[in-house]
């Protein structure tokens, strides 16, 4: 067994776990943070997306022990039912889901997508790698391609993200 301390949504949490435990299982099974979902469990669907040290990753593809001392933000840390994150509110407004299973991952990835464009980080569809990436639907779709929605709410998700992007900071 290994010991690991994570800063989850601003709170220090110490865990004792098998070193093979993924971050996703540690969050869901040990910390009861069940917002992050287990879809495919091998890095293809995006339902388990969380932010670690400000960077979005698949929590199913990383071991909890790799993140000792690091800050993890899950959907529970972005907003609460009585104080929605603007992205959560926009998903509600634009119907960015049907069944909702992929939604926590979609929202974490959406927030990160806007931060990455804001920071000028290029994606595969950024035509000019020497200029700042633009906030186009094509950029959003490419940057969200690691999150699958089997209900097919993609166009509404793009609308939700576009609306949040247009808001003054």
């Amino acid at each position: 067994m290994s010991r690991v301390t994570l800063r989850v949504n601003g709170e220090e949490r110490s865990l004792e776990l098998d070193p093979r435990t993924t971050l996703l299982d540690a969050l869901r099974e040990q910390l009861q943070l069940t917002g992050s979902k287990k879809g495919c469990d091998h890095g293809q669907c995006g339902a388990c997306t969380v932010m670690v040290e400000g960077r979005r990753i698949y929590s199913c593809l990383t071991l909890a022990v790799m993140h000792d001392g690091e800050a993890v933000t899950t959907i529970e840390g972005l907003g609460r039912p009585d104080a929605l994150h603007p992205m959560q509110a926009a998903f509600v407004k634009h119907d960015g889901y049907q069944c909702g299973y992929c939604t926590p991952g979609q929202i974490c990835a959406s927030v990160a997508t806007l931060q990455e464009i804001e920071a000028g980080i290029p994606s595969h569809v950024t035509a000019d790698l020497t200029a700042a990436p633009q906030l186009t639907a094509e950029e959003i779709r490419e940057r969200m391609s690691g999150n699958i929605c089997r209900c097919g709410a993609y166009s509404n998700i793009v609308e939700a993200i576009t609306e949040v992007a247009g808001r003054p900071a």
Binding site: R20, L63, V65, H124
Partner: protein
């Protein structure tokens, strides 16, 4: 479940010692996006996991005094994309890295892992071959360097000797008038495995190609350096004749398999098509550089 130990050494020497001491029972963990999938599928069952991300040399991007780049083997694709100058010097390498999985995968996955996973279809490898990257490896008997194309030995196998760890990639300085590009053929628009991947790096002087390198992926048991394709381009002005010769050289280098992604005939043809398209993008970038 059998027992497993997780080690996160702070120095390369400690990592090499731990890796060698485990004598084959250990696996190196960089981003983990391949290793965790393989462990869960039961394909590998390591007794020891050596996490190399606490080692500074493994996780830094350095600009060399000569004007090249040294990239630690565990640097994530996302870190490369964020670097203010890397993508401007090596847009083709960066676009290949930007094709490895999704953004969340790129947040962890490294070109070092992509190379050592030794998939014939790894996207960053043909681009690194075209770039002329040289890797540094360290093992129980010291350090050595090898060209990136010498690392893969076959699907899932490398030419690293027992106990050796990939430390870094070194990319050469970029002369004025240079550009590189990477294209892959996939039936979807994203999140797929290359049917064929092609990396091209060119240097032009007054419209004439003075240096060229071509890398191909997913058309043989290992990614290939296609010397004859580069030779067909060098000295040309990328006229139809030169492009046709380079495309034919790419097709001739192919030793692909038939699988659900593409047939031998299809891959062989597409390798030539991609060479033409990739060379055009590299030349356009070289014209601006």
């Amino acid at each position: 479940m059998t027992d497993i130990r997780y080690l996160a050494p702070g120095t390369l020497d400690e990592a090499v010692n731990a890796f060698a001491a485990a004598a084959g029972a250990a696996r190196i963990l960089a981003g983990g996006t391949d290793l965790l999938v393989q462990m869960r599928a039961g394909v590998v069952r390591p007794g020891v996991i050596v996490d190399i991300k606490k080692i500074a040399e493994m996780t830094t991007i350095e600009e060399t005094p000569e004007g090249g780049f040294r990239i630690g083997a565990a640097v994530s694709g996302a870190r490369l994309a964020e670097h203010p100058r890397f993508g401007k010097a090596w847009p083709g390498v960066l676009e290949a890295v930007n094709l490895i999985g999704s953004k969340q995968v790129q947040g962890r996955a490294s070109p070092g892992g992509n190379l050592c996973n030794a998939s014939p279809a790894g996207d960053s490898v043909p681009a690194m071959i075209a770039a002329g990257a040289v890797v540094t490896v360290q093992g129980p008997h010291g350090r050595r360097q090898m060209p990136v194309e010498a690392v893969p030995a076959g699907p899932g196998r490398t030419n690293l000797t027992p106990g050796e760890i990939l430390v870094s990639f070194t990319l050469p300085p970029r002369p004025a008038g240079s550009g590189d590009a990477y294209l892959r053929m996939i039936p979807r628009t994203e999140m797929d495995i290359a049917v064929v991947g092609c990396g091209v790096s060119l240097t032009l002087e007054g419209g004439k190609v003075t240096a060229a390198r071509v890398g191909l992926g997913a058309v043989a048991p290992t990614p290939l350096l296609v010397g004859p394709a580069a030779e067909a381009l060098i000295g040309s002005r990328l006229e139809e004749e030169a492009l046709a010769a380079a495309a034919a050289a790419c097709s001739a280098a192919c030793r692909p398999i038939d699988d659900k992604r593409g047939t031998i005939a299809y891959r062989t043809k597409v390798a030539g098509v991609l060479l033409r398209r990739t060379a055009a993008i590299a030349a356009e970038r070289a014209g601006r550089a």
